[in-house]
Amino acid sequence: MDDAMGPDLISDLPQSIIESILVQLPIRDAVRTSILSSKWRYKWASITRLVFDDKCVPFSNDREVVEKSVVKFITRVLFLRQGPIHKFQITNSKLQSCPEIDQWILFLSRNDIKELVMELGEGEFFRIPSSLFNCGKLTRLDLSRCEFDPPHSFKGFVCLRSLNLHQVLISPDAIESLISRCPLLESLSLSYFDNLALTICAPNLKYLYLEGEFKDICLEDTPLLVEITIAMYMTDDIAEHFEQISNCNFVKFLGGVPNLEKLVGLIYFTKYLSIGIDFVHPPMMYNNLETIELYQVNFEDMVEILVILRLITSSPNLKELQISGSSNIPVSVDTPDLDFWEKECLSDSTLNKLKTVKLSEMGGWLHEIEIIKYLLGHSPVLETLSIIPCVFDVENNLKMLIELVKCQRASTRAEVIFTRQ
């Protein structure tokens, strides 16, 4: 039969190519290749990366039906394969905690698993079985919606490079010890944690992403950090707690990150950094810091402005700056403390590399105008300054524009772009 059509085009390609083709197919299609021909019968069985997503079983509105068929499918695929499994990912919103998960993880722990991603559906959190802690070759662990409780004898994942915990129930001690026991950890992401006071000791850490209600964050031993993104939510407890502490958060947080290249702070981050900043000078110069993005900055609060200024003046190589206000418009004509700006002795600092500035959610606060004035007046290579007001209020915007037009510009190439919503 194949003489009429021509020679087989594909079955004799090397296994590495076949594997790279099969791995780029959705898992169902990859398994289906087993009935193509006798040579293809077991080609799928040795692929080392298994990804089960929402499309791996036929759609149905009944969640339980889908869950059952997903469980069956995964169990059978695991059973029918042979060889090591390097990546195992379940990203399925219909699957919730079920007893088979323990068996799968046990099976994986015996098959050299390196990357494990489990993102199950909303519902009951599943409890991580102890066999996970025996996965000595793990390099990447992504968990969401589960209970993570390492045994006392757990010595850490010696090969782990990337850890991502999202909505995971874990005690603070366990997190800290987990982080410190993974010496190769390069990327850490913790999200949706409640009331966590965290001290991070990770000598190889390069990327840090934190999102949640943090009482306190101390970067104790993170000299190689290159990128930090923090979104801090606030509750009343935490706000009270903030009032009471006396040390400087700026130093605690940014005191040990000389290689920082990108800093992104959201929600209450600027407020967090502002505590205790009055008394101290910035701890160091961030010579590699090229991008700063701060969102939800409260321009009413001078101390937060101080944080921004300290960051800017400690970053001689800053190239890109993005600041987003907090969507408030000044309701009353208040008399802000303009002495503040003179006190800061900003006239002799220049931002020699700053090229792009983006300001959004601008409400027309006086301090906003002052910052713009400062940036325009001290950035000799500035190319773009774009401003997006937070509301379309002709009066307000007009006021802003009038002030802007008055500003002196250090860069002849600077374009000031005012975008109307």
């Binding site: 390609l13 590495s16 190519i17 083709i21 193509l36 059978r76």
Partner: protein, 354 residues
Amino acid sequence: MSEIDMAVIKPEMMKPYIWLETSDGSIQQVEQEIAMYCPLICQEIIQKGMGSSKNCAICLPQRVSPATLSLILDYCHFHQVPGRSNKERKSYDEKFIRMDTKRLCELTSAADSLQLKPLVDLTSRALARIIEGKSPEEIREIFHLPDDLTEEEKLEPLKNTTDDPRIRLLNRLYAKKRKELKERERLKNVEAEEEHVDERSVDDLLSFINGNDGDPKGVKTSKNKKKNRRKKEQQQKNSSLKEASEVNKEVNGQNIRHQSAEADRIAETSNSHTEDVFAHREFDDGDIDDGIDPALKEKIDREVEDFARRLNSDWPERMQELLSSGQERKTILFTPNGNSFLRRNACMFFPCFE
């Protein structure tokens, strides 16, 4: 060694062209900068000093034909320019990859042999996109794959047939029949019974298997003329199977043909194994009826047990057995009817991993 040193010692090395020899023996000159984008060529030049003249042209691997080489060189020519943006590269790749499947496969193979990983990734992604979402027939058509799996092998192993209520019913019937058989054995004398010669042709037998109402008596092996006992048991066995498939037909009125295919498949599996048993037995102490019967009965029991166990057992074992018994089954000819029957059902079964 600095560049200046190299230029002084071996001026030929700084020539911008190198020589490559393709699988058909033809030698061509190629700009060194472009060719060096391929790790294998780069290695040959630097580590072995090859390629500087026609005599020591670099021999490219077998899988690189001249046409494929020219495609690869186009790719290298574009990508080795450093100043291009990611967007430009992506859009070039999308256009580059538009070619017929045969050339795409050859290109993948050639890129792999030259260790040009970015091109291997690009081409394998394109091949994956071709395969994705297509039916097995379409894929076989595109890649000229031989359709050489048996129907059983195609019935997707991921479908768990033991969950099927029809199979469970079959199992129960088998168990019942086995008990009856044992009973009859005990009651019977060791007297020769009426000889029953099976004269049915293979076709008739097959139509019986495929669920047509036929003669419920007997089965193939006409060699067993003397072994009446065995034959009788075989008859009973088959009638039980026939019954089973009939019962199945009743059980689910809707999908009669669907079921009997299932039942038939199992019936046929069982048949082939009993056939094995008989074939084996024949050459042994065939003349001593007494000696055989209890042993045979045991053999049958074991066989049915085995079959029931197999139906309920783990998949890898089942697969093994299907594979090994596939040899025997291949000798059974399918009537055209039965064949398309199963094939249609194969397509039905396959997509749904229940």
